[in-house]
Symmetry: C2
Subunit: 202 residues, 2 copies
Amino acid sequence: MSFIPLLPGSLAGPPAERSDAARNRARLLGAARELIAECGADALTMDRLAERAGVGKGTVFRRFGSRAGLMMTLLSDSEAAFQARFMFGPPPLGPGAPGLERLIAFGAERVAYVMEHGDLARAAESSAHSRYEVPAVMLWQRHVEHLLREEGMDADPLLMAMSLTATLDPDRLLHAVRVQGLAPERLADSWRELVTRVVRGP
Amino acid sequence: MSFIPLLPGSLAGPPAERSDAARNRARLLGAARELIAECGADALTMDRLAERAGVGKGTVFRRFGSRAGLMMTLLSDSEAAFQARFMFGPPPLGPGAPGLERLIAFGAERVAYVMEHGDLARAAESSAHSRYEVPAVMLWQRHVEHLLREEGMDADPLLMAMSLTATLDPDRLLHAVRVQGLAPERLADSWRELVTRVVRGP
């Protein structure tokens, strides 16, 4: 399984980025995160970001191209950190624990991640061509499939991974918590029950 | 569990509907189904429907209110037939079979239904306030929960039903078949494996 960056070069920035440009970028991203924390991702516009960061609107557009580009850059920073944890981090989320324990940890961490970054993930999904073709979603699905195979699941692990991943859709998790008022812990518990039954089932 | 009509009165029409009005309505719905069969639900507009049925555009709007209203009326006819089958029809989909057999049949029939009416279901979902609050979706979810309880599932059957229902989302099934090229039979097989493991699991 290889690492899929969400946007080419979006993690490190251009190789020869000048230090004032890098500071400018960091300041814009910091201001964007502040605005999201205060008003939610839906309220983050290029105008408001320029105003908050004290730069011209043209600077914001030159840096990120579009609002969708800004969202993807913000998301790719947090997605990359999450990917690094489940692919290379300590167990039980990372390698070293049995497949089922890693699956259980994956769902629990994913629920926590969506509670923190969900608005952003939702905004990025709605700007993608299809919510099933977001690179990060495809990567989780392959991760889940890999863990199912490791646990000896021989009944079409690809389709089972697709179904399990569908239950972690950010939009669905946010609706369950914000609209239906379900506790995130209850979602994580139900995921644990689901994957345990799928892996250990008859 | 009670029957939830998708639109009040949409199945039988107004009680005292005059017979020429009823014929007019049936002709419009027939023409709408023809257009969908030929060009897909996305191509069904009020203008094209009026033209096909040989009536004025005003007649179409007076009858259905809006394009979303037309979609819901079309869908409610086919949803009502599906609901009637899983609630009152013969086993294994209807009452009389064990819970697990009914669950397996439900997924298989649902996949087949989405292949036939999926464009309509997708159009109706996107015009609803939220795709989790479409009455039909809430009804299936309660049906799945009921069958899980009948099978003795005591680990949060409500949340398990929500997760299982998420895997049957029309948008997801259509993407799997049309974009990813997966056979509908493979989706139904994977559903059978999933619910069997969930019901019989450790």
